[in-house]
Symmetry: C2
Subunit: 329 residues, 2 copies
Amino acid sequence: MKYDDTPTVDLDEEPLYGSILVKTLALSIDPYMRIQMRDSNIKTYVPPFIVGEPMAGHGIGVVVRSEHPDFAAGDRVTSGLFPHQEYFVDDLKREYFPTKKVPSDSAIAPSLYLGILGITGATAYTSWKEYARPRKGQTAFVTSAAGGVGSVIVQLAKMDGMKVIASSGSDEKAEFVKELGADISFNYRTTSTEEILQREGPIDLYYDNVGEETLDLALKYASTHANFIMSGMISSYNKPDKSYAFKARTIANMFEIIAKEIRLQGFLFTSLIGRWEMQFFEEIPALIKHGKLKTLEDRSYGLQNIGDALLAVNMGENFGKKVVIVTEE
Amino acid sequence: MKYDDTPTVDLDEEPLYGSILVKTLALSIDPYMRIQMRDSNIKTYVPPFIVGEPMAGHGIGVVVRSEHPDFAAGDRVTSGLFPHQEYFVDDLKREYFPTKKVPSDSAIAPSLYLGILGITGATAYTSWKEYARPRKGQTAFVTSAAGGVGSVIVQLAKMDGMKVIASSGSDEKAEFVKELGADISFNYRTTSTEEILQREGPIDLYYDNVGEETLDLALKYASTHANFIMSGMISSYNKPDKSYAFKARTIANMFEIIAKEIRLQGFLFTSLIGRWEMQFFEEIPALIKHGKLKTLEDRSYGLQNIGDALLAVNMGENFGKKVVIVTEE
């Protein structure tokens, strides 16, 4: 099919019916979008994309025209349903991840609101504030430490004076995590996690993004009264046999929960954000501006490159949060 | 060998060197004593019994004579090292479960200090106070509900207004637990735990004494923000193949910890008793006296029956806390 760039939105005359006209600045590219490209008869937790209509996802943009009292031209807005277009009319009726204004600050790239200032960063920040109880000099172990959540956790743990052991999946990632401040940063594909924990543990705080064998080792090398924050179990998500997903994990060290009086706390971002949102938006942008909190973006440019960007994310080829910059402001 | 009942302690003249002479009232019979009957060259967490010397364990007695300022004749005393004798000199030098006085109250049988007023009851009480956060109308699931810990938890949960689902290992036990107030009491050997939880759940609080398959089901039928108190995993303790013990548990529903934001809290009695001991001894004896807290003892009588009592405990034939009454006071 030929790429059709006929304008679909008339910037000056498009009727708004009390809503806003938005110019897209950046779009978030996430693995789950693949699941939206399916036979629309199959029901799951995300709706299917519709053939002939634009894809959609998390995005950030700027208001071009507004008929709504809460929004004015020039406001930056973000939501969970940005159609993959240069301009669109947002009817402001979305309930889940609704459209909201974010500060326009020339020192903060808009795309950061799709990562460290979005759900990813907020997942890390809110869970850390709610559950970490960090103590100076104690040891934290962080998995997926180069990922969006893990990379923030590593830095928060260092700010709170902890020794940080961090695992990630390549030498390049381990190097990046080292630059974030991790005391011990290793590539779990080439270095034994058990040897690292045996030498550098016991661990007082475990921030889990992976589950399974690594969780098992964390139980084995935990200290008394260790604190486990259960954020993700990515090892379980992409088993080739889907019937096996979330099933039959062998955990050898379950009894350590009792013997070491360990606390495991599962959480979802949605339960915590209400309590921490204000503090999050006060604290994190300031840390970014002052260079005290680093993040990594993997940028593509232009709507025409979204297909390749989505493929890269699904192949695990991105290094940092994948975003497509649609236009500079 | 002929039973030798020659007195070994002279009640009037035995020198005390600043310690106390104790008359044994009751002895606790526990499974771990079997482990003390072994080749003394094998090291483990309890010392071996010595051939030719009396066995020893938790007991309660009354002071006959005292040369120590903290103790007087008539005081009731308990410790973790009562030799299996009718009388003995306690040098008061024990560090682990040391000798301590307990109130002499004619309404409280001394043997209760070996069970509901001892470690068993305190394990239940302290963990409930520290971690249960019970809410009226919420649902608790208690395993080993006829056991020393479980039977107290069932009653504390009912006092706090919860709906209680309770599992135990025989019809007779299930009947006893029903009498303790459990709303749903079932024999897990003949009734499907999964069917019960599916019908009566979801569960807001899980008090785990067994682990493994039952823990897995509890994860599956937990409610959002469920609270799991991890007290024991008896399923793991007596595997025929010892190399397998504490190893390779298959837990299918680990991801529910995150999806349902579950908290699992392991604990050991020794970490909690300091904070709760005073309140425990104020509250629990009063509840027993007023008939509001029930407990079950399986009594044998006389030192000569200790062998049979220990065999019964190791065969799982006792129903309630096994004690040997050495003499009525």
